[in-house]
Structure formats: structure tokens, C-alpha cells
Point group: C2
Chain length 107, copies 2
């Protein structure tokens, strides 16, 4: 199993532009949700599945493998956890929360 690798063709860039590779990775179902939920703390596969409310084990497994390969998630004695890079991505996504709150008002 592979993940959208910078330097290889990805969605949005035949030459594998790094940003497009990142968009391809984060733009898969549940990617951002998993990172978000994992930030609450390391946890087991099954617990993570529950945090996500409705993810199937097959999808969770696939996404986890990709994110591990992409160095955003690692396995620890306490289960799956964000790496330093994963934590950084979380911090970059963080501002979306407030923005989304505001955005939601219009619906």
C-alpha cells in the first residue's frame, strides 16, 4: 500500500508537486478527521474507530497505513499516536475550527 508521494504523480500534479501530494493525502476520506481525533491522545485501533463515530475498519486501516508511511502517525506502546509532523499538521489545521464555526452560521 502506498500513499501520495511527493515527487511522483499525484492528483493535481503529474510531477508530484509537494503541496498537491499533501492535498491528495489529506483529501482522502477521513484523513483530516483521524489526525484531528488522534490529537486528543494516543489510542488503540478500536478506540480510534469509536472516536471517529462511523469509520469502517477497512478504511481506518488503510488511512492509518498511509499516514504512518507519510510520517504523520506512529505506533507506540499506547497505540497509534501523532508524530512530530502529525502534530504540526494538526496545528496547521487547527485554525479551521474557528473558521468553520463562523461559516456554519450561514446554514
Amino acid at each position: 500500500m502506498s500513499f501520495p508521494t511527493p515527487g511522483k504523480p499525484v492528483r493535481g500534479s503529474k510531477s508530484g508537486n509537494h503541496l498537491m501530494a499533501l492535498f491528495d493525502l489529506l483529501g482522502r476520506s477521513w484523513s483530516m478527521g483521524i489526525i484531528w481525533r488522534l490529537h486528543e491522545g494516543p489510542c488503540t485501533f478500536r478506540a480510534l474507530q469509536e472516536r471517529c463515530e462511523s469509520i469502517s475498519p477497512s478504511t481506518l486501516n488503510k488511512r492509518l497505513k498511509e499516514l504512518v508511511q507519510a510520517a504523520m502517525i506512529k505506533r507506540t506502546l499506547e497505540g497509534y499516536a501523532l508524530t512530530k509532523k502529525g502534530e504540526e499538521i494538526f496545528q496547521l489545521l487547527h485554525p479551521l475550527e474557528d473558521w468553520a464555526r463562523n461559516w456554519a452560521k450561514d446554514f
Copy 2:
């Protein structure tokens, strides 16, 4: 055609948590890429298709309709363009570019 609406069930939240709705929307293929490319300036459907390098018209059309409904994109005399909200989202995504550059070094 509908988009992940805050307040209604979305991927990651049965109650439609606004952030999960946003993740659902942005986490569809090409969503972030389209926003990114549109920031270069308003343009026509066909031109946007070329900016995206490899998007199919059916997917582009679907994504555009969703993003228009989500108030991130509007139609103008010059073609499709980011709205104020779309521009804000772009600004929030912007830091990902530098991060991705760095991340890419490890592959």
C-alpha cells in the same frame, strides 16, 4: 446536488459538527486543489480544468457546484472566482505549502 452541510450528518459526525462538515467538504477529491488554483485569479471552466492538469469535467463540475453552495466560490463575469470566504480558506491553507516543501525532503 448537495454538499456536506453543517448541522446535518456528515462523515465524522452524525450531528453535523461544523468542523467535520468542513473536513468532509475539503476532503473530497480536488476540493483543496480547486481553491488553490482559483486563487491565481478568476477563470473559465475550461481554463480551470487546465490549471488543474488532470481533473475530469464531471468531477470539476460536481466540485464547483458544491463549493458554490458552500459559499466559497461564485460566478462572475470573468468566470469562476473565490468568494471572500473562499479567499479566507485559501489563507488558512496557505501555510501548508511551506510545510509540504519541508515534508517532501524526507522522500
